[in-house]
């Protein structure tokens, strides 16, 4: 099978050996569940319940009030203890519904199979996905129903399921591809029903050959689905890079995948679509890798959204040493946390507790102009110059050399021998550009 890839990128130490052979464990929550009203890109939800209400599994507790939004559902049955701002993995305090679990897991009446997807109309499928609160589960959290509703003038010919999982340490997508192969494929079939002229691709990095084998076996009699082998390289799973690897098309700067006739979906998202249609269950659970050198027994868990990070770390045997950093997501693009007392959200792919050796924050030195950042940048930018312009707040020059095209993948900071915090500075400059535009 041909090995596809993109240009540039890096090879970070992958750390996947810690969890890749750990089957997914189902974990039930012990403590209260916290449901932030923002777990997606877009407008916050409004709580539909009030303190003291009894809620059931699958009951909608946060209503999307805008088009770009996604509803939130209870994942246990119990009583609403409070509605208050709570610490979110993104570092902000976000209005959240807190539910005391009664342990009965009594299901809401809305749960139930929606019938054979082959007999559902396009509109019905989109509506089910929308009502199920499904968002991109790779971390970005863009509402999936919008992604699946491109403007009619944009013809879609490729649906790419992103099984690259290029972030170090993460193995949740790998385990899903291995253990829930049929659901991944059925989920893709459902998406293909929406785009009958499109072809489905499942792109997997070549360090996950077991998953590739399982997927090949599952798809061998399906004409319009193809498994694509992509090179193990970071950021292979970045949307634009994956599209390039699979189709050799470049998403234009500032554009969307639909501009090159593609839609990319995360593995777990596709499984969520399968669950929403075939079993009639809204997005209530996800697979989370708990890993890092400070975790006693790194594992993959299937958990209910709203479960505390702390419970997951405890279920993985707790900490063997004091981590210097706790990360929500992968080590390349994840968020550093101040506390483990945050809830698992729709976009939580991993909880990493990294030791000093793994993630010590190095001291910055002068840029020596070695050019490694340029050789690593998958967007073909000049990170060393962006860094200078960002530091000196030369925003016009920053924009002129395409700073806004940076996707913050972290390759430049990773390779930098002078340990410069390039991405951090670029992030700040991008925010400045956006706020200037808004105020202009």
């Amino acid at each position: 099978m041909q090995l596809l890839t993109f240009k540039r990128g890096i090879h970070p130490p992958d750390g996947k050996h810690l969890t890749e052979n750990k089957p997914i464990e189902y974990l039930l929550p012990k403590g209260d569940l916290v449901y932030p009203m923002v777990q997606h890109i877009g407008a916050p939800c409004e709580p539909t319940v009030k303190k003291g209400d009894r809620v059931l599994v699958g009951q909608k507790i946060g209503e999307a009030k805008a088009y770009v939004s996604a509803p939130v559902h209870a994942t246990v049955s119990g009583t609403v203890k409070n509605i208050a701002p709570m610490l979110h993995p993104n570092g902000d305090k976000i209005l959240s519904v807190i539910v005391e679990n009664d342990g009965l897991y009594e299901e809401h009446e809305s749960i139930g199979p929606k019938g054979d997807y082959k007999n559902l109309s396009r509109e019905q499928i989109i509506e089910i996905i929308k009502e199920a609160g499904i968002v991109g589960m790779g971390g970005a959290g863009f509402p999936t129903f919008i992604k699946l509703s491109p403007p009619p003038e944009k013809k879609i010919d490729s649906i790419i399921v992103n099984g690259a999982e290029c972030e170090p340490y993460l193995t949740s997508d790998y385990r899903v591809m291995l253990e829930e192969t049929d659901r991944v494929v059925t989920g893709l079939k459902i998406i293909l029903k929406l785009f009958p002229e499109a072809k489905g691709y499942i792109a997997v990095e070549d360090n996950k050959m077991e998953a590739v084998k399982a997927l090949l076996e599952e798809t061998k009699n399906i004409d319009n689905i193809e498994v694509k082998l992509v090179k193990t390289k970071y950021p292979q799973g970045a949307e634009k890079q994956l599209i390039y690897a699979v189709t050799k098309r470049e998403v234009p700067s500032g554009g969307l995948p639909a501009d090159v006739a593609c839609i990319v979906q995360n593995i777990d998202t596709v499984v969520a679509i399968h669950r929403a249609i075939v079993r009639g269950r809204p997005l209530m659970r996800r697979i989370v890798t708990v890993s890092g050198g400070a975790v006693k027994d790194p594992k993959n868990f299937k958990v209910k959204i709203g479960t505390s990070y702390r419970e997951l770390v405890e279920a993985a045997g707790g900490l063997v040493s004091e981590p210097v950093k706790i990360i929500s997501g992968g080590p390349m693009m994840g968020m550093a946390l101040t506390s483990l007392d945050v809830p698992v959200c729709k976009g939580t792919s991993a909880i990493l507790c990294l030791t000093k050796e793994e993630a010590e924050l190095p001291e910055e030195q002068n840029c020596i102009r070695c050019g490694r950042c340029i050789a690593a940048c998958p967007m073909n930018l000049m990170p060393l110059q962006l860094n200078q312009y960002a530091i000196h707040k030369e925003i016009d020059k920053f924009e002129a050399i395409h700073g806004m095209d940076c996707m913050e993948c972290g390759c430049c900071s990773f390779v930098c021998p002078a340990k410069r915090h390039i991405v951090q500075s670029v992030r700040t400059a991008k925010k400045l550009v956006r706020s200037n535009k808004k105020n202009a």
Binding site: P331, M333, R369, G410, V423
Partner: protein
């Protein structure tokens, strides 16, 4: 509010193991074969110059940074590399104060005045060499080998001398010249190490040496196609300059295309000086002139961004 125990910083949270010290250390290691060859052919005087030069550069950097109340960064090895490079660019018979003056000039004038590591727009060792060459020309252009005054092969070629050192002597370094520039084999071993360690790419040296080879052969000293181009690329400072000085990070382009232009420009200027200029050798001037063009080259060779929209 409990005290936060965890580091909270922007992603990425993991970094490669490469360091500035490591890179500079690699360059230093790569220069050692040439330094050893220099000591072998030019004996104790070469070793003496090398040690003084390194000490002057490191000392100049430390004192300057102390005086200007900056963090002393001599442990990044960059000053030691400059010192070694400077020594390799000096004749083995220079008086002891030459490397001291050169080292101070390289570090303070060429490097620190412009902001220190990574900010200098010309190669400090080369700038110092040219400064010394123009200020103390007799000391900087007297060559001896085994105690006998001699001329460099390029000077002999320029004079039109009939008796030239053999190719074997040129390749091994048994000829008159600067401490570190004569032994092509030693330099190539060091260059191979730098390439293997991916400290430098082949782009600048290959285009530089390639251009010199082709132009020397094309134009020729004795008319077109009438010169021994292979002999000439191993003489003078070409191998040392192409692999170790034209590739200096801070004074060469960071863009891939720019690196080809750098090599090409260096090659053309070198050949023009060697064949038509008043001096026998032009590698140092070629690199320094191209150093000045680097910002311009970079501006016009920016990589095309991913997803560039066709206008």
């Amino acid at each position: 509010m409990s005290v936060n125990k965890y580091t909270v910083s922007s992603s990425p949270h993991i970094r490669s193991k490469d360091t500035v010290q490591g890179i500079m250390g690699d360059v230093f290691i790569a220069l050692l074969p040439a330094a050893i060859a220099g000591v072998w052919f030019f004996r104790f005087s070469a070793l003496f110059i090398i040690l003084i030069s390194i000490a002057s550069c490191v000392g100049a950097e430390a004192i300057w940074q102390k005086l200007t109340k900056q963090k002393v960064t001599i442990n990044d090895f960059s000053a030691a590399v400059t010192g070694l490079l400077l020594a390799l660019n000096l004749p083995p018979t220079v008086p002891f104060w030459i490397p001291i003056v050169g080292g101070v000039f390289a570090i303070i004038v060429a490097k620190q005045f412009f902001g220190g590591l990574g900010q200098n727009f010309i190669n400090p060792a080369l700038a110092a060499r040219v400064f010394l060459l123009t200020s103390w020309t007799p000391q900087m252009t007297s060559w001896t080998l085994d105690g006998v005054t001699t001329a460099t092969p390029l000077a002999l070629l320029k004079e039109g001398a009939l008796q030239l050192p053999s190719f074997t002597d040129v390749f091994l370094g048994n000829i008159g010249g600067c401490i570190g520039e004569t032994s092509a084999i030693a330099l190539l071993i060091g260059a191979a190490y730098l390439l293997y360690r991916r400290v430098i790419s082949i782009r600048i040296p290959a285009t530089f040496i390639g251009t010199v080879f082709i132009l020397t052969w094309l134009i020729g000293r004795d008319g077109m196609f009438y010169s021994n181009a292979i002999y000439e690329i191993f003489t003078g400072g070409l191998i040392l300059g192409a692999f170790f000085m034209a590739t200096d990070y801070s004074s060469s382009p960071v863009t891939e295309k720019g690196q080809y232009i750098m090599g090409l420009g260096c090659g053309i200027i070198t050949v023009v000086i060697r064949l038509f200029g008043g001096l026998p050798e032009g590698v140092s001037y070629a690199i320094l002139i191209m150093n000045l063009a680097v910002p311009l080259i970079e501006r016009y060779t920016m990589p095309k961004r991913f997803g560039e929209v066709k206008q």
